[in-house]
């Protein structure tokens, strides 16, 4: 397990390093005139030069990259390129947004799993019955409905028509990384719609996968062996089939993170929640590539960490992975 852990950590670090190269080079290739844009045409050259010098823009690309990495390791994401933001640091612009988005995504993931795992399991057990067909059809519709269409429908039905749920989530005056998580528990009703939209994005894929995975497991030899030795059908189902069927789901969890974060951008815009999505959209409107790249980097790091956790969980559940890594 330790060998696997170290190797997997190392791989994750390499990927994050690769991501920093992407997020460094995209702005670095185009920011030749950023000082001019910030200070305006009439600014004296000395001011421009000073800005470029302070931000290492007059140095060679490798030095700039090292400077960028050094800043990152000190938790400094650089300076905003937005004229109106008056040289705020990117870190302060993003603030708690990453955590707000994380809580939203995590809440939707938990709910999606709670729905999808039993649903997929029952669909597989009652395969090719009316229940299975109806569930498959419903899941397909949800699966292929884009986040914003689902959001529009939910808002139309539950906010405008019936006033069941408020349109925008209630936000307390709390600050700090856990503020929105506490809000979610304090005002659960106001977070139903945004979480539902994100849940809808992933629940279809998960339950489809779960159904297929259980079906694959049920025909395995060890299931027949378990039945033959006289294990009760509940024991066969939960001890033998379920444990094996759940493994691919854990892998899929990690892989679904990028699309979930993409969906979070839409959801946050739709429901006006402050998070990585709204921060990014606002930065794009202000042509603030520094903030966009910082957001991209943070989301990518979150994705890599999520993948790492899911891979390690798979290794914890499945001894075959651990043994393979030792070879």
């Amino acid at each position: 397990m330790l060998v696997y852990l170290v190797r997997r950590l190392f791989q994750g670090l390499i990927v994050i390093l690769g991501v920093t190269i992407v997020t460094f080079f995209i702005p670095a290739s185009f920011h030749a005139n950023i000082a001019r844009e910030l200070y305006g045409i009439r600014a004296p050259q000395s001011v421009i030069d000073k800005f470029n010098h302070d931000n290492y823009f007059d140095r060679s690309i490798p030095v700039q990259y090292l400077h960028y990495m050094n800043n990152l390791l000190h938790g400094n994401l650089g300076v905003s390129f937005n004229k109106d933001a008056s040289f705020q640091s990117v870190t302060s612009i993003i603030g708690d947004a990453l955590f707000n988005t994380l809580w939203l995504v995590l809440a939707s993931l938990v709910i999606a799993l709670v729905i999808a795992i039993p649903l997929g399991l029952f669909q597989a057990l009652k395969r090719n019955t009316a229940f299975d067909y109806v569930a498959t059809g419903a899941v397909f519709v949800i699966y292929s409905t884009p986040a914003f269409v689902l959001g529009l429908v939910l808002i139309q039905v539950f906010c405008i028509k019936f006033h069941v749920f408020p349109y925008s989530p209630t936000v307390s005056s709390r600050t700090g990384p856990f503020a929105r998580l506490i809000d979610m528990f304090q005002y659960p009703r106001s977070y139903v719609l945004p979480v539902a939209v994100l849940t809808g994005l992933s629940v279809g894929g998960f339950s489809r996968f779960m159904r297929g995975s259980v079906l694959d497991t049920l025909v395995q030899d060890y299931i027949r062996t378990a039945r033959a030795k006289g294990a009760s059908s509940n024991r066969v189902l939960f001890r033998h089939a379920f444990r094996n069927a759940i493994i691919p789901i854990v892998t899929i969890l990690g892989l679904s993170l990028p699309s979930l974060f993409g969906g979070a951008v839409i959801t946050e815009t739709l429901f006006n929640i402050s998070g990585m999505g709204t921060v990014t959209v606002y930065a794009v409107e202000g042509n603030d590539i520094a903030v966009v790249m910082a957001a991209t980097l943070l989301i990518a790091v979150a994705t890599v960490v999520g993948n790492l956790i899911s891979d390690l969980s798979v290794a914890a559940i499945d001894p075959r992975i651990r043994l393979m890594a030792r070879k």
Partner: protein
Amino acid sequence: MTPRNHGDAPDEGLGEGELGPLEVHSEGSIVNPALSGVMRPVRGEFGRLENVEGAEVWETADPVEALPDGFASEADEARPYVKPKGLTAQMFKVFIQNRVAVIFFILLVAITLFSFVGPLFYHTNQTDLAALQQVPNNLPPGAGHPLGTDFQGFDMLGRLMVGGRNSLIVGFLAAGMAMIIGVGYGVFSGYNGGRIDDFLMRILDVLLSIPGLFLVLAAISLFGRNTSMMILVIGLTGWYGVARLLRSEALTLREREYAQAVRSMGGKSRRIIWRHIIPNSISTTVTLATFAIGDSILALAALGFLGFGIQTPSTDWGTILNNGYVALQLNYWWELWPATILFLIVVMSFNYIGDALRDALEVRLRER
């Protein structure tokens, strides 16, 4: 025949004017690579040797896949030689059995016609903002405007056509780009294997961990809302999955007997890739392309919904949805729901048709 190293000699195909593999086959000892892969001689749907209904007698053989004369005439003497049903024909047969997929396909064709041919019959002003001053905004459906007008006075029905045309064009072009990059990258990586494969797959890991939407947004903040730029960036962020799947296809296909046969006869890598690996993964590619078009249309709509779509006076479905979202609070339903329904049908069509194609492909494999 002089043995050749991989990729050393200039590419001219295998043994033109020399003793190529096709001639070798007529001696009956070596399996024709073209036969063992795409085609099987006279094998019916149920694996029996029989004349399959709908199969045509082998007369107009494809010049590329043509058998040497000697072989064909030998077979003719034994029994009437029939061409097996092609891959497309088999897939088509399974596909049309899927009623829902056929319905979605018809809907998709109808919406495409609506978007491209519709404006020829239904003339509306979709470009001149100044002339729209005369038209009342947010007009409910009625005479003259079957679906009302939007917040700028554009006729909604005509707007849907313009938006549909742009969404479909961007979707197709971006998906085409994603497919070319993805297939090229995946096949190259999988065929070469080893260190090259490792390196290319690590790069893919990096790209996969960055949500595409963020990269597209970054491009917009750098270059502005430029339509050709959007096609480029949506294409550039849409090929990762394609590359992964094609890579694993290439990894298995390159070890197949027919690929080995080409290699053992001194055939170049390019020939194996173009004649065997790509044709044999064509069904995966077609399925993936269907999904890719849907995904590209979705990506553009997401941009439009965030307010970064194609700029006025032109438009796309995402932008219409974005504007309609504002109108929703005012109960101007005609500005949102018709566009939503059209868009949803198109996205679901590509999803469902892709699914059906994949099923058709699996059935084909089972029948073999």
